[in-house]
């Protein structure tokens, strides 16, 4: 079946098997391999992308379900080729180690900071309930997101 979707601001279209998951549509049909797969139960959040600006796990959706809608992946988080404040903050605060969960963490955080630009530490931790990391113990991920929230609100002011 035909799926047409805006991905990172570019219109993309492809014929896919009806059962194709969004994450494999992104990775294998469109070649956007920055979104990772970590489980088969929608538990780990590695595959998190933005659907019309809100975070979703791309392993829980069929490509067919996003026909006509807009997707942002890690490759499109900072569309102009610079780093997004969250990417910079993860680097600055050692918010990643192996980096496998990182794209999902970044997309979840990007979505959450839009919803709540000045969160508390506890709120950040709660916002990450759908994303697992096995390397960092979350401490520096939380620190990174709080740091990014600060720099993003500073940039706006």
């Amino acid at each position: 079946m035909n799926v047409a979707v805006s991905v990172n601001g570019t219109q993309r279209e492809a014929d896919v098997e009806p059962r194709t998951l969004l994450v494999y549509f992104l990775r294998e049909t469109l070649g956007l391999t920055g979104t990772n797969v970590g489980c088969d139960t929608s538990s780990c959040g590695s595959c998190t992308v933005l659907l019309d600006g809100e975070s979703v796990k791309s392993c829980t959706l069929l490509a067919a379900q996003v026909d006509g809608r807009s997707i942002t992946t890690i490759e499109g988080l900072a569309p102009d080729g610079d780093m997004h404040p969250l990417q910079e903050a993860f680097h600055r605060n050692h918010g990643l180690q192996c980096g496998y969960c990182t794209p999902g963490m970044l997309m979840a955080a990007a979505s959450y900071l839009k919803e709540n630009p000045s969160p508390t530490e506890e709120e950040v931790r709660e916002s990450l309930e759908g994303n697992l990391c096995r390397c960092t113990g979350y401490q520096n991920i939380v620190k990174s997101i709080l740091d990014a929230a600060g720099s993003m609100s500073g940039a706006k002011a």
Partner: protein, 785 residues
């Protein structure tokens, strides 16, 4: 030779990050080759069964299927097991595809190749197997019971190995000491759960007999040597590449069936073969950790002096040995004395086969198991003699020593100064205040009780002196290697034999080399994880990378500087003795402006227009470093919890870790390792457990049932360090990758028990789930009835 330390010890931001935060990293599942086939494993839903027949006909005719293969169809040898720890160890046969018997849920009987991932998985579902089921032996007790069926008939027993440390000191204290504390502890199996599942891609050039294997592994070098034998590929024709690897924690410190099968199927078909593990497969087919039970004895005095420590363990091997399986409990066998100085020591264990996933190295590998029972036992001792557990620890800590010193375990400990870490941890934990709060809540009968748990630990890492590994019957050495090439443009390429997967070697190695050669970390590129690019190496595990591979950098730089000095003396027309290396250059003594930097000398060595007689062009060197000893990090962790005595729920109020990993190269990375290690230890203590049902099925078979903690379950941590340089190596480094996981489980469980010990509770089990804690309280209140 003096160097200027500008980068060692600094929080240099990681060079690895840009590709990882932008989605440009190259994990295994990103690898695609023309003509590539997908491989799927056929793992029938049995855990113990005789295979009567396998019907692959339906699968063969499925769309896109290129072939379905059973063991009879393939030319492949047994999988590697490299640590036969005793002379009389019984070693199970272990093939990539099982031939006549299924022995655990991960055992595959066939493999499917198809044009797409989905076609391969669909076809694998249609392979049918006729079996005669046998009783599932998923606990060690079942497997050791009289009359239990044999998992490997040819071995004659399910108990396959007995290893004894042999003891240290006068064993009579275990009969004569005024106080004997005896405890029994069980540590369940854990599932490592690197967030990236395993996967591999094999390709060949058939006319040349050459093979390349990309694999999500911690050990490309060991994989190359062993898979060469398994697959019958001459070693020089096999290249193994670890691309970006998404975490390991020991689960990728192995050589697995799928890697061998991908290679032999690439040979058979002449096409590239790719396999990516699904998470549900990972839970049954990738190694588990722990799975041990200990009987423990502490002999002591009435006033708190530990006289003897004795541990007898049984360890669940699973259905086969993977790369190291029985070596893991043995590795723990050298740290049961902890940072203490007992007069007597005993450790032995038996390895038991079960119908479960093989166990092997999971972060800490033997040392968490040892530290857990030791630190639990010390708390039990403190309770028995009515003393504060911090005080009992303090009075038993080994006195400080700055030279390698013989330990009761039989090995020499490199250096140690344990009390400052205890003091600092008590201070950060606000120990006295929480003890006061605990007394007050006990007095008032508060529903929510406070508990404080300590863990003063030591670990043995930096694997390892090759001669000791040989004496322990391990098949390989413990050295590592580095090649440093100074390019004419002033840049430096480092090829390391370590294989990082999140630890930041590119950054830390750059810091070491930048200081040594007078360049910046940005001038340096670190290559790793490719047996053709870095042919010498022993890879990454056992907190060895810095203290072995990192130290190899030091010795390679020594060689480079020796040659550079010769060229500098020639160019400056002085004798070598007239030069000193200071402020990032060779300078003429008394005339420091007459100088040559290493980058300048690299250019001279490259164009080679005017080199001293007998000097080879170019400035590069390789060093292979075999450590003379292990390294022995240590420290104190303290956990403060609040336990709801009505529900059994535990909240961590404070977590303090004061670690001593010797000299620190990058404090930011060290802290990150501690955060992650502690989080895995907290997970082990409170949440994680692989559970099998009576018929042998894994009940915790996905991330929805196996409780990996998220950001709300892991508390913020307070960290600090003491620094006692190692005497093993010239950098003074020890290792930090596993310390958090080794130290934290007993700190947490001791805290939970401490919170309810006044109710008569002495153990809560592990993990300390609300139900277990609630039951322990209820049982204690019922007088054990």
């Amino acid at each position: 030779m003096a160097t200027t330390e500008r980068y060692i010890g600094a929080e240099v931001l990681r060079k690895e990050d840009p590709e990882l935060v932008t989605g440009q990293a190259n994990f295994i599942d990103n690898h695609v080759l023309p003509g590539m086939l997908w491989m799927a494993m056929v793992r029938p839903p049995y855990v113990h069964a005789t295979v009567n027949s396998i019907d692959t006909s339906a699968a063969t005719s499925m769309p896109g299927v290129v072939g379905v293969y059973t063991a009879a169809d393939l030319d492949v040898g047994g999988l590697p097991f490299v640590w036969p720890i005793t002379e009389d160890i019984k070693i199970p046969s272990h093939y990539p595809l099982t031939k006549d018997k299924i022995r655990f849920h991960g055992d595959a009987v066939a493999v499917v190749l198809a044009e797409t991932r989905e076609q391969a998985l669909d076809a694998a579902e249609t392979v049918s197997v006729d079996v005669t089921e046998l009783p599932a032996l998923t606990t060690m007790e079942d497997a050791m019971a009289d009359g239990a069926p044999l998992i490997h008939e040819e071995l004659g027993s399910n108990v396959t190995v007995h290893w004894s440390h042999g003891g240290g000191g006068d064993q009579s204290v275990f009969d004569t000491a005024p106080v004997l504390v005896q405890e029994h502890y069980h540590q369940p199996r854990l599932i490592p759960n690197a967030i990236e599942p395993r996967g591999c891609l094999a390709s060949s050039i058939p006319s040349m007999g050459e093979f390349t294997l990309w694999t999500a592994t911690q050990i490309p070098h060991i994989a190359k040597v062993t898979l060469s034998g398994v697959c019958g590929i001459p070693e020089e024709k096999l290249r193994v590449i670890a691309p970006d690897v998404g975490g390991g924690f020991g689960s990728k410190l192995n050589v697995y069936a799928e890697e061998a099968l991908a290679l032999v199927l690439a040979r058979l078909t002449g096409r590239p073969v790719k396999w990516i593990e699904e998470r549900s497969e990972n839970y049954v087919a990738t190694i588990h950790g722990r799975g041990v039970t200990h009987d423990c004895t502490l002999a002591g005095t009435e006033d708190g002096k530990i006289l003897g420590l004795k541990f007898v363990e049984i360890a669940d091997m699973g259905a086969y040995y993977q790369l190291l399986t029985p070596g893991i409990p043995e590795l723990g066998g050298w740290v049961y004395m902890g940072p203490y100085a007992p007069e007597a020591y005993w450790f032995e264990f038996r390895g038991v086969l079960t119908n479960a996933t093989p166990t092997d190295a999971y972060r800490g590998a033997g040392r968490p198991e040892a530290t857990y029972v030791l630190e639990r036992l010390v708390d039990a001792y403190a309770r028995k003699i009515g003393k504060d557990p911090a005080e009992v620890r303090r009075m038993n800590l080994h006195p400080p020593f700055s030279e390698a010193t013989a330990s009761i375990c039989g090995l020499n400990v490199d250096s140690g100064n344990y009390e400052p870490a205890l003091d600092r941890a008590l201070e950060l934990a606000d120990y006295e205040r929480f003890r006061e709060e605990q007394r007050s809540r006990r007095d008032s009968g508060d529903v929510r009780q406070i508990g404080i748990g300590l863990s003063t630990y030591i670990e043995m890492c930096g694997l390892a002196p090759s001669n000791i590994l040989g004496a322990l019957r391990y098949a390989a050495g413990g050295w590592d290697a580095a090649t440093i090439r100074c390019l004419p443009t002033g840049k430096v390429v480092v090829a390391t034999g370590t294989s990082p997967h999140g630890q930041g070697h590119e950054t830390s190695w750059s810091q070491i080399v930048a200081d040594g050669l007078g360049v910046t970390p940005d001038d340096i590129t670190v290559l790793h994880g490719d047996t053709q690019v870095t042919p010498l190496g022993m890879d990454t595990y056992g907190s060895r990378s810095l203290s072995v591979g990192g130290v190899a950098l030091h010795f390679a730089m020594e060689k480079i500087k020796e040659k550079a000095r010769t060229i500098a003396a020639h160019e400056l027309e002085v004798s070598e003795d007239d030069l000193e290396y200071t402020d990032n250059a060779f300078r003429v003594k008394g005339a420091p402006d007459k100088a040559r930097t290493i980058p300048e000398l690299a250019m001279s060595a490259w164009h080679a227009h005017d080199l001293p007689a007998g000097t080879e062009p170019n400035l590069d060197a390789t060093a292979v470093y075999d450590p003379p000893n292990f390294t022995w990090p240590a420290g104190t962790h303290i956990c403060v919890v609040e336990v709801d005595t009505q529900t059994g729920a535990t909240d961590i109020l404070r977590y303090v870790a004061v670690d001593d990993c010797g000299t620190v190269i990058n404090p930011m990375i060290v802290e990150g390792q501690v955060h992650g290690g502690v989080a895995q230890g907290i997970a082990e203590a409170l949440f994680e457990e692989a559970i099998y049902d009576e018929s042998g099925n894994l009940s915790t078979s996905s991330m929805t049932q196996y409780l990996i903690p998220g950001a709300t379950e892991i508390p913020p941590m307070m960290l600090d360090r003491t620094v006692t340089p190692s005497t093993t190596n010239p950098l003074g480094v020890k290792g930090i990758g596993e310390a958090g996981t080794i130290a934290s489980p007993p700190a947490v469980i001791n805290a939970v028990v401490d919170a309810v010990s006044h109710l008569g509770v002495t153990d809560v089990g592990k993990p300390a789930s609300p139900e277990r804690v609630w039951r322990a309280i209820r049982d204690a209140e019922g007088g054990g009835a």
